[in-house]
């Protein structure tokens, strides 16, 4: 076992587990990775940073056998070794949590975890439960092995994937934006776990857009920009820098400039701040494994941003879907600008001015095989000027799509590229562009900045403030407390399908929300 000694060696002497040597990957119209050199060492958390579309996931795809490099070599333990397939990667000790979930929705959690075993062996579920418990408990992750995956929220699915990657005794654990749906505590637990793993001599590759996490958990930081590696910060330098200095240095490497202001700014309420979106006693009966909603009542006024905080899977998705008309309710009423929405379907509610930005961009937000241009207008099919008398007007669609692409800085080789081929953050931009189209009165944002890089996160937060500034009602669901504190007027806390309290944003609000989330009085 290389085990304990590796960590005590000086950083550059640590054993290289995986080495990328001049790796290049091209896609039609784009060079996703351009001669990237990277050494992943045992005993290190190697943070990979880069803006949306920089090529991080592509690099991971090659390490995990999903894709093959066009040029360059991958060395494992110093020997050139093409990684032929995902199962080959696993057998080489490389475990990956992908950016978009890879679980089979119709199977239970236990079945998903048992997948990939030898096909002639019966999975030993009892043993599995013990192993899962051993891994999940210290992480503060609670896993219901019997739940069907499609009933879980995306955050819960992400947790299952983390556990799955850890089950395999990997030597190299890759986490591609695995914290994007965790709560602050969850992230801290994951950081502690990564620390323990590298102390045991494993290597971790950690991709994130939150620079604070990079500074806190990383031993080494590499920055990608437009497919090229533009910088690396080694452990010694990392330790010698102050947190803020480090963040500044990373930002200037990533964006070539300062990050701009990410500060707290709560938009002013307009003079006329009457209630726009009113929800009374909304009820959804719980399913077998899903949370329901119980007696949810709130109001959002014109120009108001109401935040919904809470650990993912406490009914936020059900609330958003019930409001949008995608989920049947079992009682209660919803009104928008005085008009009752009860009994109306998704399309009618949209016509009346309700917008819903889903957090499941691949599952329901887009049609992956359709071009980017069509995906912008998926909720407007048949409407002029894009369709006239039912006939598609490609010119009109392309002109508008080109505008949106520019305005929202969507990085795509062309408008006809299938949207599923874009990087995660760029797909998210397509969704945001779509929901902010005209005619909105109230917008439900479910984790709007999930997967966006720093610059785009700030741009999106500013857009949300602007939306409120125009007098719309905004319901902002997020697991990121910092995000809520940076823009909401009030923050409601959701726990087990109920709103357990609502707090006006201001001094000390963060703490009070935190107390509500863990079940204490505010």
């Amino acid at each position: 076992m290389p085990g304990m000694q590796t960590t005590t060696k000086p950083p550059e002497m640590r054993q290289a587990i995986v080495t990328l040597d001049g790796v290049t990957k091209r896609f039609p119209g784009i060079i996703a990775n351009d001669r990237v050199d990277l050494v992943i060492r045992a005993g290190e958390v190697h943070v990979l940073l880069g803006e949306n579309g920089a090529g991080k996931s592509t690099l991971i795809g090659m390490l995990s056998g999903l894709q093959q490099p066009d040029e360059g070599r991958i060395l494992i333990d110093g020997k050139a070794m093409p990684i032929r397939s995902p199962s080959h990667a696993l057998s080489l000790g490389i475990g990956t949590v992908f950016q978009h979930n890879m679980l089979v929705p119709s199977l239970t959690v236990a079945e998903n975890l048992a997948l990939g075993g030898k096909w002639w062996q019966k999975p030993r579920l009892g043993e599995l439960a013990a192993r899962v418990d051993e891994i999940a408990r210290p992480l503060g992750i609670n896993i219901n092995l019997d739940a069907v995956v499609s009933d879980l929220s995306l955050g819960e699915q992400q947790q299952v994937e983390i556990v799955r990657a850890l089950l395999r005794n990997s030597r190299l654990l890759i986490l591609d934006e695995a914290t994007s749906m965790l709560t602050p505590q969850g992230i801290a637990e994951l950081g502690a776990l990564m620390r323990r793993l590298v102390e045991r001599g494993l290597a971790v590759v950690f991709i994130t857009h939150k620079l604070g996490e990079a500074a806190e958990f990383g031993d080494r930081v590499s920055v990608l920009k437009l497919g090229r590696k533009v910088g690396e910060i080694g452990p010694d330098r990392l330790r010698s820098l102050e947190h803020d200095e480090l963040v500044d240095e990373i930002v200037s490497k990533m964006f070539g400039r300062n990050a701009g202001d990410g500060a707290i700014s709560i938009p002013d309420r307009p003079a006329n701040d009457e209630a726009l979106l009113a929800v009374r006693d909304l009820r959804v009966l719980p399913g077998k494994d899903t949370s329901g909603l119980e007696a949810i009542s709130f109001m959002v006024g014109r120009g108001e941003i109401l935040g919904v905080a809470g650990i993912d899977g406490n009914g936020q998705k059900q609330l958003a879907e019930a409001l949008a008309g995608q989920r049947r309710t079992d009682g209660g009423s919803v009104t928008l600008a005085g008009r009752s929405l009860d009994g109306l379907d998704v399309g009618k509610r949209r016509e009346l001015g309700l917008r819903y930005l889903t957090d499941d961009r691949l599952g329901e937000g887009t049609v992956g095989t359709f071009p980017v241009s069509i995906n912008y207008f998926l909720k407007q099919i048949g409407e002029p000027p894009f369709w006239r008398s039912g006939i598609e007007h490609s010119r009109e669609i392309n002109t508008h799509a080109r505008d949106l692409t520019r305005q929202f800085d969507v990085r795509t080789p062309s408008l006809s590229t299938p949207v599923g081929r874009l990087s995660g953050g760029n797909i998210q931009k397509v969704l945001i562009a779509r929901e902010l189209a005209e005619g909105a009165r109230a917008v439900i944002f479910n984790k709007p900045t999930y997967g966006l890089d720093l610059a785009n996160t700030q741009a999106t937060r500013q857009r949300i403030r602007d939306v409120a500034g125009q007098g719309l009602a905004v319901l902002l669901i997020s697991t990121d407390l910092e995000e809520l504190l940076s823009m909401c007027h009030r923050i409601a806390v959701m726990s087990q399908g109920r709103l357990v309290g609502t707090i006006a944003n201001g001094a000390g609000a963060g703490e009070r929300v935190g107390r509500l989330m863990i079940g204490l009085a505010a």
Partner: protein, 364 residues
């Protein structure tokens, strides 16, 4: 071109783009035509086992289905109902609904057209009779698809099973109707009344080719344009490609589902009508050409593209007309055409898989 629409900061474009797409088309052709050649060889081996010279068989099929003037006219005539079937299946498959009940819908359409046309023609002008027969066949086929449609739309019941079951029922019902209800009292064999040749769809020019061929071509092209160029077609494709996205986008998925079934079955029913009022003139008891099953693989081969489907339907017609002649002449069972089509389908799937593996290996 929308290629220049990229945001200014995207990575430099890869210069090899244009050459690659020409290569792509070449590869596509290779993995479509290659398997067909391989299948001909494989099917030839089967013929050898049966003690028949494959070259003689293929020669005969090509001669009777394609080269001889009479054979070619028969082939073109056979295309008429098949094109309607292909159009109906394209609508359903592109919307992700597996209407496998084509045979029942086709036969019920055919039988009702055959039962009504000879009676109507005695009171109505010729053209109106033909229109009425089409409408009746369409409506009957639509009704027959209603149960699977409603079950799928509102209960989520898998339509593969229900349409297949309704198809069995439909085929039997059609037979029963011919034998008991729509029997022509003037003949001793159980069959419907016959529509006189002069009242059927006109033939094209001086040939025996029915004008139904034109209707079929227009229909399948119209369906293709509907699926690719209209809002309605796009809605159907969204439902087919990602049903959850369809719900999220506010589409009325149950209503669209029922519409798709109605359209699909209606088109197939029209195929039945065209076969009767254009070609057969009547329905004999126990008649079931099973076109539905034969056209399904054709639609897959064409990747649900209307224009490609025209080509493949032509191929299928050549095979089936030639195959029927060869069956009479060389004693090869008539079902051999279907054996051939299935072998093509299997080799095509294998080719697709190999192509995928090859692509990965080349990169490694």
């Amino acid at each position: 071109m929308s290629g220049d629409a990229t945001s200014a900061s995207a990575t430099p474009l890869d210069a090899s783009g244009g050459g690659g797409s020409a290569r792509d088309i070449g590869r596509r052709l290779l993995i479509t035509l290659g398997p067909i050649v391989v299948s001909l060889v494989l099917a030839g081996c089967v013929l050898l086992v049966l003690g028949i010279n494959p070259l003689a068989y293929y020669g005969y099929v090509v001669d009777r289905g394609l080269l001889s003037p009479l054979g070619l006219q028969q082939t073109l005539t056979r295309m008429a109902p098949l094109l309607f079937l292909a159009a109906g299946l394209i609508v359903a498959f592109r919307a992700g609904m597996w209407n496998l009940g084509g045979d029942g819908q086709f036969l019920l359409g055919a039988v009702t057209a055959a039962a009504s046309a000879p009676l109507l023609v005695q009171v109505l002008p010729g053209w109106l009779t033909l229109v009425a027969a089409f409408v009746i066949a369409t409506v009957v086929a639509m009704i027959w698809s209603l149960i699977p449609a409603l079950l799928r739309a509102y209960q989520g019941v898998n339509e593969i099973i229900t349409t297949l079951m309704m198809s069995f029922l439909g085929v039997s019902l059609a037979n029963v109707l011919v034998k008991l209800v729509f029997l022509d009292p003037a003949t001793t064999v159980p069959q419907t009344r016959t529509l006189p040749v002069e009242d059927r769809l006109p033939r094209l020019f001086e040939t025996t080719v029915t004008s139904g061929l034109l209707f079929g071509l227009v229909t399948i092209i119209a369906v293709h344009l509907m699926m690719t160029r209209t809002a309605f077609g796009l809605k159907l494709r969204v439902v087919g490609a990602n049903p959850r996205a369809a719900v999220h986008a506010g589409l009325n998925v149950p209503l669209l589902t029922v519409t798709v079934f109605a359209l699909s079955a209606g088109l197939i029913g029209m195929g039945g009508a065209v076969d009767i009022v254009g070609i057969q003139g009547n329905v004999r008891a126990d008649w079931n050409p099973a076109y539905g099953l034969a056209v399904i693989p054709v639609v897959f081969l064409a990747r649900m593209n209307g224009f490609a489907a025209i080509g493949f339907v032509f191929l299928l017609s050549v095979l089936s007309i030639g195959g029927e002649s060869a069956a009479r002449r060389l004693g090869v069972p008539q079902n051999f055409t279907m054996v051939l089509v299935s072998i093509v389908l299997i080799t095509l799937a294998v080719a697709e898989y190999l192509d995928h593996r090859f692509n990965q290996a080349r990169r490694a």
